[in-house]
Amino acid sequence: MAHIFLLPWMIGMIGVTAGPLVASAVLAFTDYDLLSPPQFIGLDNFVRMAGDERFWAAVRVTLVYVLVSVPLQLGFALFLAVVLDKGLRGLSLYRSAFYLPSLLGGSVAIAILWRQIFGEEGLVNHVLGWFGVELGSWLQDPSLALSTLVVLNVWTFGSPMVIFLAGLRQIPEELYEASMIDGAGRVRRFWSITIPLLTPIIFLNLILQMISAFQAFTQAHVVSGGSGGPLDSTLFYTLYIYQRGFVNFDMGYASAMAWVLLLVIAAATAANFIVSRRWVYYGDE
């Protein structure tokens, strides 16, 4: 009987997730142009990646994006969570307002808005102009284009912030009171009590946001017009997969790239779990 209740989920799992997953795993070893049957080519797609300059460009861009935007986003989210944890009036309103970008940030509409904001005559340059800083379009400068996407990701801090807020509420107040009696200041309390007891939540957010950052696509596609430019400076890995599969009719290679991404994410997650034993403190230890 229980299995029958599981059936709807299983049908969806097979149809939408597992089936395509197995299919893409097979396609990764084929030359498949979507128009004719796949031809088995063994490991050629993976060997080709090693010599593909754009593949390595996409890896570099994505790694920079993950390594810069995720810590910034979490830092900002933690800062705001700590501020909101002070028992402000209208906390629900602030929490909803700060959470809104997380809902909108991955949308096409916001990405289009970002193009306008960082354009040559956009809002950012307009404000910088007040201080005598004259810049061109951020999106046409290879040294600045990726930073606009980093800012967009940091802006969607609401989701980790809400999780941090919940975590902060779990920290026993007695610990803070005892430390204040012992003369600990605000900063000392934050580093010696808040952070250690929050490490499981930090770790959770780190894993979630890291996986999400590795898979970022919409923002790069819209902001760069699908090209990943200028000069591949916004060529996210997922965008390159999309280009190879749907623009260049190279679905076998795209499938192989997708599996490499899966393995990289799995490896990064596993590495984080291993390293977490050194810095994550679970209260029952």
Partner: protein, 428 residues
């Protein structure tokens, strides 16, 4: 029902996963099926064109109440991406427009039904010679839905306000000189033109004047490194002289007309674009003329592009005639033309165009005028882009980014572009 054990449940689930994976690899049998028997019609454009064609499809349905039409509209880029998915699933619309880079790619994928002898397909408006010219590789499997040519479009309001006139005889050198002078110290800060070497039709025009073809009959890139370099050089001279909008001003190599249209005097475009583009700037009047030509331009360099549409090869027998009726409506209906206008180009049916002309808007009159002018010129054969070349414009844009950011010289970029395109074609 017998008890479902955990083992049997998991066995059936695993079988289901493998079955689904196998099915997705093998592919479904061709369907192209519209729900409840409707003829599926796919086209691209902006929201105005979407509305216009929906009205036209209503008119078709009124004329043929027994035929239902299921419209499938998309933006140009999204249309192509959706077609890719539909092709993979062999679920292609019954009648569909064909993007210019994909004509031979779709042909190679077996998407087109042979249109010779299809009952209900009315080609009586075309001469035998014209029908022969529509054939690809001897087969009539696509038809032109519209025609257009590359042109130079200019803002006559700016010309009047700035007190200048375009030279009567436009050569590449005279146009460059004119644009540099125009932009220099322009009181309104207007530029001569956008930075536009990415634009395919003017590029092809330039190459043909040099005696080269963008694509050859045997499916290769016809442009030489020298030809590509000469084209980019012409633009680079303008850009460095300040006669074009900067890449930053136009927000990329491929500018948005709404962003730059009010800043430039001249732009290179397709002859039909004026219909929609002029509406973005209702305070200005635009006109257009033939492309500049070198004094020693090769004979027959002019060309008229046939934008094509086709019937899917997998259309079920009972829907072939309704699909043919829809294609005939597109080719011959004065009512359709009155509703959609010339935003997609002039109709290949010249009798239809003559009938429509008195009711054409002023901008459409300009499309008609330049189309007729170019159609009357000597035109040597022109060949469609081969399979594998679909991303050539993206490759061009990437090289142009390198040039404008000072990372590559023009000769190196031209060489890289030619190599990249040839490699893509070879890999197809």
């Amino acid at each position: 029902m017998s008890d479902l054990t955990r083992r049997s449940f998991l066995t059936w689930t695993g079988a289901g996963v493998l079955s689904l994976a196998a099915m997705s690899l093998v592919g479904c049998s061709p369907s192209g099926s519209g729900s409840n028997g409707s003829v599926r019609f796919a086209w691209w454009g902006g929201s105005d064109r979407q509305r216009a064609y929906l009205k036209a499809l209503d008119a078709f349905t009124a004329e043929h109440p027994e035929i239902k039409v299921a419209p499938e509209f998309g933006d140009y880029d999204a249309y192509q991406e959706r077609m890719t998915t539909q092709m993979a699933a062999r679920d292609v619309p019954d009648v569909f427009w064909i993007p210019s880079p994909a004509v031979l790619t779709y042909r190679g994928a077996g998407l087109y039904r042979d249109l010779d002898g299809i009952e209900g397909l009315d080609l009586s408006a075309f001469s035998a010679e014209q029908i022969e010219s529509f054939r690809l590789g001897g087969t009539l499997d696509t038809l032109p839905k519209s025609v257009f040519s590359p042109v130079v479009r200019y803002n006559t309001t700016f010309l009047d306000e700035d007190g200048v006139t375009l030279p009567d005889e436009l050569t590449w050198d005279s146009l460059a000189e004119f644009l540099v002078d125009y932009a220099k110290d322009n009181p309104e800060g207007r530029k001569g033109t956008t930075y536009g070497p990415y634009h395919d039709m003017p590029f092809e025009s330039f190459l043909r004047q040099r005696g080269e073809d963008l694509w050859t009959e045997d499916g290769r890139l016809g442009a030489t490194v020298d030809g590509v370099a000469a084209w980019i050089d012409w633009w680079e001279k303008l850009r460095k002289a300040g006669a074009t909008t900067t890449v930053s001003e136009q927000d990329g190599i491929e500018p948005s007309w709404s962003q730059v249209g009010g800043k430039v005097l001249v732009t290179f475009a397709n002859s039909n674009h004026i219909v929609d583009d002029a509406q973005a700037f209702p305070d200005y009047v635009f006109d257009q003329r033939d492309m500049p030509a070198a004094p020693d331009a090769a004979a027959g360099h002019h060309f008229t592009y046939y934008s094509r549409f086709a019937m899917y090869s997998g259309v079920p027998e009972d829907r072939i005639q309704p699909a043919a009726a829809l294609m005939s409506f597109n080719l011959n209906s004065p009512e359709l033309l009155s509703l959609v206008g010339l935003s997609a180009g002039a109709p290949p049916n010249t009798a239809l165009l003559d009938q429509y002309e008195p009711d054409a808007t002023p901008d459409e009159q300009k499309v008609i005028a330049v189309t007729r002018e170019i159609a009357a010129t000597e035109q040597r054969a022109r060949f469609e882009a081969p399979a594998g070349s679909g991303s050539w414009r993206e490759l061009m844009i990437r090289e142009l980014e390198e040039i404008t950011l000072g990372q590559k010289s023009v000769p190196d970029a031209a060489s890289a572009f030619v190599s990249a395109v040839e490699s893509e074609i070879a890999g197809a």
